[in-house]
Amino acid sequence: MLSGSTHGRTHHAPTYSDKLWWSIAGFDEDAHGILRTQADPWQLSWDYSDLDDTIFKAAGTGAKAYKYPFQYNGKSYIVWMWKAEYVQMGPGAEIEFLYQNVPLKKAGPLWHADPNDPNLPKMTESLSYKGTVTASFAPPIAQVRVGSFNQNAGSWNPSGPDVLVRNLHLKATVTFPDPGMYAAFKKTEESRIGNLWKFPSGTQTATISH
């Protein structure tokens, strides 16, 4: 969950100042009002933890978060995903790749972002609402955080549909440039109870649907 992506305002349609806020908050807005995460926003200097998800609780909205930690070369990594109704930002999804400089058994609650990591995977996400894609993002470069949000939908918009998280379907891909890191992630997930990740042969890409 992005720190600062909800900012305590009551529900209303985005205004000019909202759009300015989005840019400061680390999002680019396209002509259709879809927000997408920037490659290197200043918020990446913040640590990430479960405390960020308490914002959803405070807003009284819906969200599902999925955490996939693994270890590679003595460091801990996590693929962290969300699908949610992001208040004024509408329904959206995010996938993030974070690390800690310790093995998993020593990993704590705070995860860090490194946008300059040469082994940062290239990630994509696509969010559908009742079978129709509502927002998606496939950046051409690897980014720590890949997310998109549809301001035109969601319960804040009186003209838009009511969005329930259960009607949101998230698809994501993670393509690892480092074959060793890919193998570590694949091995971890394939032996895990309830694994939903797929690993198409001949690639270094993991895919998942929620």
Binding site: T61, A65, P69, L104, R192, G194
Partner: protein, 149 residues
């Protein structure tokens, strides 16, 4: 995991059974035999363990929450190594308030290869996969699973 290990160390099937959710106890078939069979894997009653990793799913809906932990461990007992996996719901306000606690618990000799020499998926890995679903329980059978030899 500590609670599971404590029950194993004491060879206490009742203590292990108490860890399961009401829903799991309701739906599981022959839970008591499964518990005895699970404990028989550790005849000396002593185990140590190492966490492989734990996935989690956190579901929030109108201030109610459900957390689903999908945990994998490497367990050491009597000079042997095992895989131990479980699904646990520490809180379950969104989906099923009767499903708080362990839902499924399995143990098998440790292996890094999900397939047999003939290319068939091993029973333990079939069991692991049976829980693959959005709600973390899928079609997998609740209770205890120890694959046949």
């Amino acid at each position: 995991m500590q609670h599971i290990a404590d029950a194993v160390n004491r060879h206490d099937p009742a203590a292990l059974k108490k860890l399961f959710s009401a829903r799991a106890l309701e739906k599981a078939t022959d839970m008591d035999r499964g518990l005895d069979y699970f404990l028989s894997v550790f005849p000396s009653g002593h185990m140590t363990w190492k966490s492989i990793t734990t996935n989690s799913v956190y579901d929030l809906k109108s201030s109610k929450e459900t957390e689903d932990l999908l945990a994998g461990y490497m367990v050491f007992a009597d000079g042997k190594k095992y895989s131990l996996d479980f699904i646990d719901f520490p809180v379950n306000q969104v989906d099923d308030p009767k499903n708080v606690g362990l839902y499924a618990l399995g143990v098998a000799p440790y292996s890094t290869d999900p397939y047999t020499a003939a290319g068939v998926k091993k029973p333990y890995y079939v069991w692991l996969d049976s829980f693959a679903s959005e709600d973390g329980v899928g079609t997998g059978n609740p209770g205890v699973y120890v694959p046949p030899n």
